[in-house]
């Protein structure tokens, strides 16, 4: 960092202008915005502004938890919502902070780049008269004429230095000016410019990227079209017709959980592997590929990730005559670490009234005294379905609804002979007759489903390049020392007094040593024995 502030333009004092006027005010505002003090303030504001997003649930991450929070905090919830605390990173105030910071960054980088460009092409300044007044200074008497000694100093300083590059030299008679470490400021500018690149890359990803999610039961396949997704979240400028037409089928999903450990680690997931068949386009040959967590499938710039899994019990519903009304694997959503899963089976073909089953799938069922049917382990040790039955109208007014819950406003729950709500507990292979000649339900088998997330982000490579460049620039700006060395020689009888002064910008604890080294090298090369140096 070179100066007192990022804005290094010459100080065009406004003192003489009693009225600023429109342009003056604009210039003043610009100066304020691009000042180091404002940049620091905005940085800290950005840090503070980001924190609420880690404390309160966020809609873009988990909309369900936001809904729960709003339901349990009826007074504070709506206010927090109005202030954007559930969408912190897309809220106007957060955007205001980073946009101002972005402008401040541009306002810092542009003038500094101009200045650095000029500095890079200019010569080091003339050596000051009194080198001993500089922060670091050293002197020695060495053999040789002043011209010879000065030439030695030129040679030594002209060599490539570790961390500093080559010194740029300027000679004026019996003095020499040398400056090195221009790359420090270059690194600094690369760092700040690269941050701008990263921000642009994030914006590109936001505008042109998309994300789709699909729950895929084993044995099924899906194509990369909007209709193939359960949810699809495109950026504003995405061409949703032009998605690459790949296809993924999941043949098998192997899931393992911690069996041996006891305590908190028991039942922790250990491995998820999906065996897939993929096609890059409908007519292309099928390829067998393994999809794992941390190992996505890629199709051009689009990647398929395995982010979740669960169970899909295969259920058959028949009417009183034994006619199959429904036969399918229905995905249930896991609710806890032991995969107690919730789901609904909607039999719209049932008559005269439609039938709906709602309840839990339990991979390792046991009856908890308080919570009812529960699961003690995430794997299939004692699979069971616990369902309640409703009849009536499944889709009132045809409103869209979740496939995992029943909308029961136009439905009534079936009851048993004692008038209690009817509860079915089914094991695989079991069939239960529904009361009143409503037919039967069979729990045929259990399949697994894979939760696939498909992402396309055209900005990610740029973001990577930008952040790596930022890191390189940062290291250069912290490691490289910006130094000026001034050498002056004067004759002392047949010998020469060489005097060296050093000046550094910023922290440079090694400057004194560098001067000592330089004096020692000159003394050695000039054939001077013993040390006559004083610093």
């Amino acid at each position: 960092m070179t100066g007192s502030r990022m804005d290094t333009r010459p100080d065009e004092s406004d003192v003489n202008q009693p009225v600023l006027g429109f342009v003056g005010t604009g210039r003043w505002a610009w100066r304020q915005l691009t000042s180091m003090r404002t940049a620091l303030f905005l940085l800290l504001l950005l840090a503070i502004g980001a924190v609420p997003g880690s404390i309160w649930p966020q809609r873009n991450i988990d909309a369900g938890r936001v809904a729960d929070y709003l339901a349990s905090h009826r007074t504070t919830g709506p206010w927090l919502d109005r202030l954007g605390f559930f969408d912190v990173y897309s809220s106007p105030w957060f955007a205001a902070i980073y946009l101002l910071l972005f402008i401040s960054l541009v306002g810092c980088v542009v003038p500094r780049s101009k200045l650095h460009w000029r500095t890079m092409r200019s010569q080091p300044p003339r050596a000051p008269r009194h080198l001993e007044r500089l922060p670091e200074h050293g002197e020695a008497v060495v053999n040789g004429t002043p011209q010879e000694v000065l030439q030695l100093a030129r040679d030594v300083l002209g060599r490539r230095q570790l961390w500093a590059g080559r010194y740029r030299l300027r000679s004026d008679g019996l003095s020499l000016s040398a400056e090195s470490g221009y790359l420090r400021e270059s690194g600094n500018l690369v760092f700040h410019t690269a941050l701008i690149v990263v921000i642009v890359a994030v914006a590109v990803g936001h505008l042109f990227g998309w994300r789709g999610d699909r729950i895929l039961v084993t044995g099924k396949s899906f194509s990369n079209t909007i209709s193939g997704y359960d949810t699809f979240d495109p950026g504003p400028w995405v061409d949703t017709e032009g998605l690459s037409p790949f296809r993924v089928a999941v043949d098998k999903l192997v899931v393992t959980f911690e069996e041996h450990s006891t305590g908190a680690q028991r039942g922790a997931p250990r491995d998820f592997t999906a065996y897939t068949r993929t096609q890059t386009s409908p007519g292309a040959p099928q390829i067998h590929q393994i999809l794992k967590v941390n190992a996505p499938l890629t199709f051009g710039g689009t990647s398929v990730f395995l982010l979740g899994n669960g169970y899909a019990p295969v259920i058959t519903v028949r009417d009183a005559a034994g006619q199959v009304l429904l036969h399918e694997a229905t995905p249930f959503l896991p609710q806890d670490a032991n995969y107690k899963s919730v789901g609904a089976v909607k039999v719209s073909a049932a008559s005269p009234k439609q039938l709906g089953f709602f309840g839990f799938f339990l991979p390792s069922e046991y009856l908890d005294k308080d919570a009812g049917p529960s699961s003690f382990f995430p794997d299939l040790k004692n699979p069971a379905l616990a369902l309640g039955v409703y009849e009536g109208e499944l889709y009132p007014q045809g409103r869209p609804q979740s496939v995992y819950t029943l909308s029961t406003e136009k439905m009534t729950q079936l009851r048993n002979a004692r008038g209690e709500p009817l509860r079915l507990l089914l094991k695989p292979g079991q069939t239960i007759q529904l009361p009143g000649g409503r037919g039967s339900i069979t729990f045929d088998a259990v399949q697994r489903w894979a939760g696939l997330s498909i992402r396309y982000d055209p900005g990610k490579l740029l973001a990577l390049i930008g952040s790596v460049a930022a890191l390189a620039g940062l290291i250069a700006s912290l490691v490289i020392r910006r130094r000026r060395m001034f050498v002056r020689v004067r004759p002392l009888g047949p010998r020469t007094v060489v005097s060296i002064g050093g000046l550094a910008k910023g922290e440079d604890p090694g400057l004194g040593t560098a001067i000592e080294d330089l004096l020692a090298t000159i003394a050695q090369r000039s054939g001077t024995k013993g040390s006559d140096t004083k610093t």
Binding site: M1, L40, A50, I55, I61, R270, L471, E507
Partner: protein
Amino acid sequence: MTNQTLAQYANLSVYSAMAVFTIAMTAFALDLAGAAPAVLGEDPHRPRARKAAGIAMMLTRLGGLLLIAAVAMRGLSVDRPPLGNMFEFALVGSMFVVVIFVAISLRRDLRWLGLFVIGPVLLTLGMAITVWYTDASELLPSLKSFWLVIHVTVATFAVALFTIAFSVTILHVVKTWLDAQDPTEMSRIRTTVNAALPPSRSLDRTAYGLHAVAFPLWTFTLIAGAIWAEQAWGHYWNWDPKEVWTFVIWVVYAAYLHARATTGWSPRAANYLALAGFGAILINYTVVNLFFVGQHSYSGM
């Protein structure tokens, strides 16, 4: 598969290291207590015999070796890098703190700093083996990646550097405060502390140097984490609580470096930023790991 016997030996090694560090810390404290001049007006930086400090440094190295052994055995017991839960992060972090401290002490006199490095290490190890202890077991699927080694090792190393830098910064704040006082009016304990610490400027330089090394490493942590997140979760940035706090830490330390480079800011303001940065690190490690719901739920608790 896990080898529980080996894991037991690892714990034994941690307990031994803690015992050794306790003696080292006491010896460091005794050494500092002897720093005050016996006679008022005597040169506070006079040469004095520092036998206790010598013993303390030896014990610190021994404790460091015990910690390295503990990390190695823990890793071997689970057949993976021991970077999978809170206990292991704390163990590896403590090891890095001691290793960095010993490495720097080979080139520079750090006897004044020992107490303020071994103290936090002992505290962390104590928390790790009692509160955060997690049985040796396999990793969650999302952690099975070579990025675990890169991302978490560098993160832990950077945190270790930030920890030492934090101790030095606190000492700098104390030293600046003492420098502003009249030496003849100072109480005995303040005189002792004043005499035990290096000059303010040297403290400042050391703290800055440590931060200047740690910050690029933290930047690397952020980038490596983003690359890994892209592979594991589908996007390089998800505003997960851990990501948010990693970013907050980065921003606060970036502000510190800017404040240091700006002549308009006093070193004291910059120091407060550094302390705030470490506060954010502590929150990131404890509150975020244990209480916030997110994708970095690897505390093992």
